[in-house]
Symmetry: C2
Subunit: 230 residues, 2 copies
């Protein structure tokens, strides 16, 4: 009786999608076999063709399923934040940016969906297929736009300013690296997993870095080649 968006999905479809998300999120597309999926989902091999038209269709449906699952935890929150920012003075935007990024950090490091989503997202980033279009429209773009909007408000610039976009991208980068490069960081710290203490230290430091970036003056480096409009 579970319904997701407009598509009313059968129990078998739902089971296939959850299993597929786990599989595709942690292993390569070609490394995941259809037989392995249907076995874990307790379905028949032909269920994939029947419900999704094939393995490829299942993969695309999984990506859509992923964005829908992330809606409550992430995407919806974005609009709220953007509204809050519009109703508050620009100086408050900095706090909102930090809060959102740190919430995002916890999500991808400790959240359940954060275990599977990055694998798919980073694969599609590296070699985009039509699945990337889904991710961009439903997930990456909303996040990027909202972040740029907040930064622009704080720095009193246009959200479409390339400099603002690049700054947003940078801040995302210094966040997701703790998921992408967690293997390396944990090895450097002689740890096997992110514990509470490390997480707190991480968040405290990152907040400082976010603020440092937001307040960084670009004038010092602009003086050489750029003519400043302001």
């Amino acid at each position: 009786m579970v319904k997701t968006e407009a598509s009313s999905q059968s129990a078998t479809q739902e089971r296939l999608l959850t299993v597929a998300l786990k599989a595709f999120g942690s292993r390569d597309y070609d490394d995941v076999s259809t037989r392995e999926i249907v076995q874990a989902a307790e379905a028949n091999i032909s269920a994939i063709s029947y419900h999704f038209g094939g393995k490829r269709g299942l993969y695309l449906a999984t990506v859509t399923y992923l964005t829908e699952q992330l809606k409550t935890g992430m995407t919806n929150r974005l609009e709220e934040i953007r509204q809050t920012a519009n109703d508050s003075p620009p100086e408050r935007s900095a706090g909102l940016i930090c809060d959102f990024l740190l919430h995002f950090l916890e999500h991808i490091l400790l959240g359940e969906m954060g275990q599977h989503a990055p694998g798919i997202i980073f694969r599609e980033q590296n070699r985009p297929t039509e699945a990337y279009d889904i991710l961009y429209e439903k997930l990456l773009a909303p996040m990027h736009f909202t972040l740029a909007s907040l930064i622009a408000r704080y720095r009193k610039r246009e959200p479409s300013d390339p400099e603002i976009i690049i700054m947003a991208h940078t801040m995302i980068g210094q966040t997701v690296i703790f998921r992408i490069g967690r293997t390396t960081l944990l090895r450097r710290l002689n740890q096997t997993a992110y514990n509470r203490a490390t997480m707190e230290a991480l968040k405290r430091q990152l907040r400082t870095y976010y603020l440092a970036l937001l307040d960084a003056s670009t004038d010092a480096t602009e003086m050489e080649t750029r003519d400043h409009a302001e």
Copy 2:
């Protein structure tokens, strides 16, 4: 007559490795077939088993080959920089850090080897195999250690300080995101590839951000739970 390290490789081995690097660097392991490799390398199918013991052996050899190729451009440079830093006042370390990271940026965005390396590295980060050990020891660790060493010198801390390590990790993150997430950024900027102008703007901004991070005071956030030793 090409010799790499201690292993004297036949022409066939060399051809297989270059082809394999290109293939494994841009596509998934299981998506790359042995037949496709030997065809592109103009070798026989059994050459893989003969020279590398199988597909898996070829992959591991490719990773080693990758680290060796990066030695002249990256790894060797690290030791030089570390030496230069030791012979200069701590304040100069900031400039060295920026120069190295920006050089690294250019390398992964425009360099030839930068086309193939990230694909392998990020895959091994997400799902480490024994190939990750090679990458960590020969590439990731040297870079991480050197960067932490420079930062520690600049901020007058211990290189083993977790806070320094995390800062190094953050700076790496805000650099590599422009390779990992380039598809998203380029789409945001309405571009199809990194051009000269964008590269210059990128480097100028990132330099500012590096310096902002290096000079960011952690005291403001430390006052709650931490006791500062200095």
